[in-house]
Amino acid sequence: MNILTLYTNLGVYLVLGALLFALGFYGMARRRSFIGMLIAAELILAGASVNFMAFSRLLSPSPATGQIVTLFIMAVAAAEVAITLSIIIAVYRNYKSIDAEDVSELKG
């Protein structure tokens, strides 16, 4: 296997998707602010889309399906970002903070 012909290899895309997913998980656990968690969630979705695109290009009998799923993932991610950011702004208005630890009024 030559390093310059890697782009024809399914394994590279699967490794890339897995690394993006794991980095997103790490960011989700590490960040304290809501915006940082939102960024990590975007990374997780990106890892899923890479897998869909790779399988649809290299293995699937209908290559349009994976691309359509990726487009749907983009639309859902855009909706998610809009909703999450308005929730963040509402939380910031009430608590004057975007730290996830500060929003604990219902904590027993």
């Binding site: 890697l6 790490y26 960024i39 009998p61 991610a77 809009a82």
Partner: protein, 179 residues
């Protein structure tokens, strides 16, 4: 096949490696910097590299959508929220305590390792035949199947987007008073 570095295939391979490095570096920046604005810049870099990867997967259309939606819209909106909500005091939000970060690193390493082993050691059956060469993955075909096979989900996703936009406007407006 063993192309030389300066042939067409060799240059394409180099550009592909650059895209992968850009994606992973962007993801690392997005998860590891302290300032949120730098994390957003890292996210934009990650999506830029990812759109290059999509070009190599034979779909310039999805690559352009990736640029337009993620880099153009999502990152800009997140920057907008960072400017609205990040005060001087919140600018240096420390990450969580050390045991939690170590635990996060361990768990995400295990996750990455398991997913990579699963991906590389499975015998994926190749069902494609010569579907790609017949042009089944072209933009025309995407458009046709969006309006025939997937028309229901297409309409539903536009409904979801509409509800999300209306809901986010309502959420961001309530609790706002004249001052």
């Amino acid at each position: 096949m063993n192309p030389s570095l300066f042939s067409f295939e060799g240059l394409a391979g180099l550009i592909f490696l650059a895209c992968i490095v850009c994606t992973l570096a962007g993801a690392l920046i997005a998860t590891n910097t302290l300032r949120l604005i730098r994390a957003v810049a890292g996210l934009a870099m990650c999506f830029l590299g990812l759109s290059g990867v999509y070009v190599f997967l034979g779909s310039p259309f999805v690559a352009l959508m990736q640029l337009l939606i993620y880099v153009g819209a999502v990152c800009t909106t997140i920057i907008f929220a960072v400017m609205l909500a990040e005060t001087k005091a919140a600018r240096h939000v420390t990450p969580r305590g050390k045991p939690r970060v170590v635990l996060a690193i361990i768990v995400s390493f295990v996750l990455a390792w398991a997913l990579i082993q699963l991906g590389l050691n499975t015998e994926w059956p190749n069902l494609s035949g010569n579907a790609w060469e017949q042009g089944l993955g072209s933009v025309e075909n995407i458009g046709t199947s969006l309006l025939t096979t997937y028309s229901m989900s297409f309409e539903l996703i536009s409904l979801v987007l509409l509800a999300a936009i209306a809901g986010s406007l309502v959420l961001a407006r309530t609790g706002r008073h004249k001052s």
